[in-house]
């Protein structure tokens, strides 16, 4: 807990310093890495930065799917309720649904992924992101699993 408190203070200090133009912005990338990363029991992740959530599927999910050969991403502007289907992935001979971890309005989709769908397999948490949404109910984030909880979940029988 104290680490989070210290890092929040660092972030606030960083913002103040950035506004004062004394320190170049690239030194504050560390505070951005502390943006929240949360997981669902359907094996999607969301990285929240301010009011924007970047969404994708986990390494576990891509492994269980197999190589992604095609995907259908939502339209920019589309709105989704938490846990509803927002994207479709086709891996070899199998189509499966992706469920949105948080309610939101799509502000960007990962267009280059359509030409290189297997990026979902090679970089599921980074370049393989699927969509970015503007959160419509940020409180939903608190109920999702953090990394430790998700790793425990994977070890359990219920996944």
């Amino acid at each position: 807990m104290s680490l989070i408190f210290r890092s929040n203070r660092l972030f606030t200090l960083g913002v103040q310093l950035a506004k004062s133009n004394l320190i170049p912005n690239k030194q504050f990338s560390i505070s951005h890495r502390l943006a929240q990363l949360k997981f669902t029991n359907q094996h999607e992740w969301v990285k929240v930065n301010g009011n924007i959530g970047t969404i994708g599927i986990t390494d576990y999910a891509q492994d269980k799917l197999g190589e992604v050969v095609y995907l259908e991403l939502p339209e920019v502007g589309a709105e989704f309720e938490q846990s509803s289907q927002f994207a479709t992935l086709e891996s070899v001979k199998a189509v499966s649904e992706c469920y949105i971890p948080v309610s939101g309005k799509v502000v960007e989709v990962n267009e280059p992924l359509k030409d290189n769908p297997s990026t979902v397999n090679s970089s599921p948490l980074e370049e393989g992101w699927l969509a970015k949404v503007e959160l419509t109910n940020p409180a939903e984030i608190d109920k999702l699993m953090d990394q430790n909880q998700y790793e425990e979940f994977l070890k359990s029988d219920d996944h």
């Binding site: 359907q42 492994d63 269980k64 799917l65 197999g66 190589e67 050969v69 095609y70 259908e72 479709t88 086709e90 891996s91 070899v92 001979k93 199998a94 189509v95 499966s96 649904e97 996944h159």
Partner: protein, 233 residues
Amino acid sequence: MSKLVRVLNVGRLEYDKCLKIQQHFLAQNLSQPDSNTLILVEHEPVYTIGLRKQAYPDEYLEKLKSLGAQVKKTDRGGLITFHGPGQLVAYPLLNLKNFKPSLRWYVSRLEETVIDLCQVNFDLKAYRMCSTGYTGVWCNDAKIAAIGIYAKRLVTYHGLSLNCDVDLKWFSNIVPCGISDKSVSSLSKIMNKNLGIKQIEPMLLNSFSRVFDCDLEIENEEQVQNLVNKLAG
């Protein structure tokens, strides 16, 4: 406790009618997690395409219709294929949480079911090709079974089709599954004797039960007919 799969052999049934039955059991199995179903069917001639519909322009599909088959757009994985008389189609509606929650595993088990069937009954070496573009089950460099599935919250539908004594000329009108450099065959052609659906059905059930490590409960004919009339009549 062993997994139980209820088997419904609906006989010869047109694609859309069977799809209604699939959708009924998909909804049922989504709400009853211990429930698993396997539908066996023989379709009237139909070409089906998968999720990537943009690969097939309407003029092309109209041309296929003029050859005497229906053409259906589906949401399953995979590209274009043919279903028709002499081909055994199996639609497992399984809750993968009862088995293994992995689509990659599930597709490989469907392939294994056909490979097992060929080995056990005909001492025939069927195989899967590991490269992405060549899924399904192969024998003597020709495809004998095609696979295309959809999973909703880990409950599967659509499935596999195994060529028993289907008229292979239907496949010459398409590039089956998008594979242009290989041919399609059937069990009858490879074994050089007539092997119809009725002979292959019990073999498929046997292999399915072994490969998926499950018990099968075969629904009786009357029950199946009532269900077909109720859902697809």
